[in-house]
């Protein structure tokens, strides 16, 4: 056997990119299960259809770019993008909506910028925003959760996706919308009079968020990412909510707990904000990045025009990430005393 000439180090740790992506996928499972429990099979159909499309687009893009297809498919990044996007889409979304979303995410946001690792913007969020701006009606058509309306079966879910014309689903506003539109009722009354509210936040939503939180904590435990960005985002979001809670009056923006457990907060905090490619790199940078996303989420939720704000907040901060990096370079060993000089 010929002796190899390789640069050191010769040993390698157990972590691999494939494992990172697989862990992220695994961590979304509890959240997906809860979503399915409360909103029916819609999300699940979204994800399966989306993942298939993602693999298809990814293969096509890799082939066009002359890259080895199977080698790059194995990193699971396309499936992760598809999963995160499809979780964020309303259940029972029509098939073409998902096609447009995944195409925007994989082809435009990812491969046009050079593929995994080179994309400045989070592909899933780009896909989401493209859909939200292009098809606002479909994108805000959330079906009522278990306890507030009829749940659809698997067949109906498939029908909703692939023959959307035949599907007759009831849609309702999300709790975030209701809160925003409310200007007459005290928080307490709003909770009592609307069946869509649960114990702390929206019915179903709160448990989905708790499930994503659990998945995120597991990833943290697995050291897939550090606590800095999610913690900073949740803290700043909570702080903003506390500042504008206004004692639960009719002008209140909702309690911190409501904001933590509403919309895509936990999904965003642990699965989107932590996307390493598009976030700041240093630990201090991640704190700033996360905190500003939290602030933006609240600003857009409270005073913006869109029902949820995560995608916009993340994309705006994606712009700022290189800037943050520039100013948060850590102090290198041996340069400790330079600041004081």
């Amino acid at each position: 056997m010929a002796l190899m000439r390789i640069t050191s180090p010769h040993a390698h740790g157990p972590m691999s990119t494939t494992r990172v992506m697989q862990s992220v996928l695994l961590a979304t499972v509890p959240g997906i299960l809860v979503l399915t429990h409360f909103f029916g099979y819609g999300t699940l159909v979204n994800i399966v259809w989306g993942a298939m499309l993602a693999l298809l687009f990814e293969s096509a893009a890799l082939r066009l770019r002359g890259r080895p297809v199977s080698f790059y498919l194995k990193d699971y990044s396309a499936v992760v993008t598809a999963t995160l996007l499809c979780i964020a889409l309303p259940p029972y979304a029509p098939w073409w909506l998902i096609v447009v979303g995944i195409a925007s995410a994989i082809l435009i946001a990812k491969h046009l910028y050079g593929g995994l690792g080179y994309n400045p913007f989070n592909p899933a969020m780009v896909g989401y925003v493209v859909l939200l701006i292009s098809f606002p009606v479909q994108m805000t058509a959330w079906s009522p959760p278990r306890g507030a309306g009829e749940l659809h079966g698997l067949v109906a879910a498939l029908e909703a996706c692939f023959t959307p014309g035949n599907f007759d689903g009831v849609t309702m506003a999300t709790p975030l919308d209701l809160l925003k539109q409310n200007n007459a009722l005290l928080m307490e009354d709003l909770w009592q009079q609307t069946p869509l509210f649960g114990r702390w936040a929206g019915l179903g939503w709160e448990w989905a968020n708790i499930a994503f939180l659990a998945g995120g904590l597991w990833l943290l435990y697995q050291r897939i990412f550090t606590w800095h960005a999610p913690a900073a985002m949740l803290a700043s979001l909570g702080l903003m909510a506390a500042l504008f809670y206004d004692g639960g009056s009719s002008a209140s923006g909702g309690s911190p707990l409501f904001h933590w457990l509403s919309g895509a907060t936990m999904l965003g905090a642990f699965f989107i904000v932590t996307d390493p490619v598009t976030s700041a790199v240093s630990l201090r940078g991640k704190l700033i990045y996360g905190a500003l996303i939290g602030v933006l989420v609240y600003l857009i939720r409270a005073w913006g025009n869109y029902p949820d704000a995560l995608a916009f907040a993340v994309l705006i901060m994606n712009f700022a990430a290189p800037f943050i990096d520039h100013y948060t370079q850590p102090t290198t060993y041996g340069h400790r005393d330079e600041g004081s000089k």
Partner: protein, 510 residues
Amino acid sequence: MRKIYDFHGGIHPPENKHQSVGEPIEAAGIPQQLIIPLSQHIGAPAASVVTVGERVLKGQQIAEAKGFVSVPQHAPTSGVISAIENRVIAHPSGFSAPCIVIDTDGLDQWIDHSGQPDFESVEPSELIKLIRSAGIAGMGGAGFPTAVKLTVKAATKIETLILNGTECEPYITADDVLMRERAEQIIRGATILRHILSPGETVIGVEDNKPEAIAALRAAAEGTGVDIVSFPTKYPSGGEKQLIEILTDKQVPSGGLPSDIGVVCQNIGTAVAIANAVDKGEPLISRITTVTGDAVDKPRNFDVLLGTPMAFLLDKAAYQAGKNNRLIMGGPMMGFSTPRVDVPIVKTTNCILAPTESELPTPPPAQACIRCGMCADACPASLLPQQLFWFSQGKEHEKLEEHKLFDCIECGACSWVCPSHIPLVQYYRSAKADILKARSDNEKSEQSRARFEAREERLVQLAAEREAKRAARKKAAEERAKKAAAGDGEDPIQAAIERAKAKKAAQESS
């Protein structure tokens, strides 16, 4: 109890040290041929002082130091110089370099030698000279001449003398067994170093995964005032800068030396070499080397003569060439792979690692960098390896320097954690070399420019001078012509004609 500090980052790779500590240190014996590279240290290579065919004795100087940062080489055993030529040496390039080859005679006959056992009455500068003439260079891995390291500026007060017994690299146990078996000599070396530097305190730092070594050192240090400090195992705590931070919470300034902050750090193997040199006058001619890895059946530590071919040691450890995928000189984190088995052991060879494919698999093709930041968390120098990788790829030298590339110690922690298996260290090594090359090219082109301009100037000046001379000559000629025309004195041609006419007339008249 001394306070221990932590440094940023670090990793915990599998230690794999148990394989080679089962047996005591074994004398490797005398191979038929020893190959002594003239450069086994950082700095200028030594220059041979022997001739082919000459018989040398054990401990005889065979090459002398050239310049300040250099050390001499000595014959590790008695024998005949059979060649002074280029041989393949232990270097990642696989290149050859000048070596003195000794055919050993098996007699192992010492040259007359004596040390300064009563070192406390000897001037430190004398001891430093002795250490230099004994050919001692740092034995931890870098091979920096020890005498140079001990020569600190007169104004510098050394607060802390640190002996490095950390040995944080996986697999290597050479220092571990040395501490277990030769603790007295280490302490002896420590007291000699203490006499030379007169530091405020003398500390031996050992990772807490070597309890036997710590116990042996503590027993030997009883009553000497040498402090044995153990601290949690973490790679790369044995790096000089990291060890200094662990023990003193001070950081060596970038581009500076430990002595700038009042610290001198020496490897414990170097301390033993110093003890031998000072007590007995023995130069550095042997060292402890670990031979380990799954491709050797009998992993252990050898007391080996410098210049011993690696193949000789591998044989002693029952090497299975068929199972081996690469030979590494040093540990798995910072060692380099050598393409041949006949390269010689040198002063810095602390380990020969012969792993199997399943043990240290061939690295898979690198995937894309997802900027996960695991490398930044692991970096002991608090760099941003992912950014450095980016800039190295783009050859953005300015950005690299801005991101402190030259503070990278190439420990390999970033590559070890990288989930995409990117050979980060290779990028940094290459980028560093490119930048250094660009700097020296720049210097050279600056010099060429100066020489070109000087030449141009000189040519212009020469032309001007020539022009001036020509003008002067022309002027002189013109003036002479003018004088003639003015009738001031005879016109020479007219005069010649007159003279000729006069001559002719004289002839005719006679």
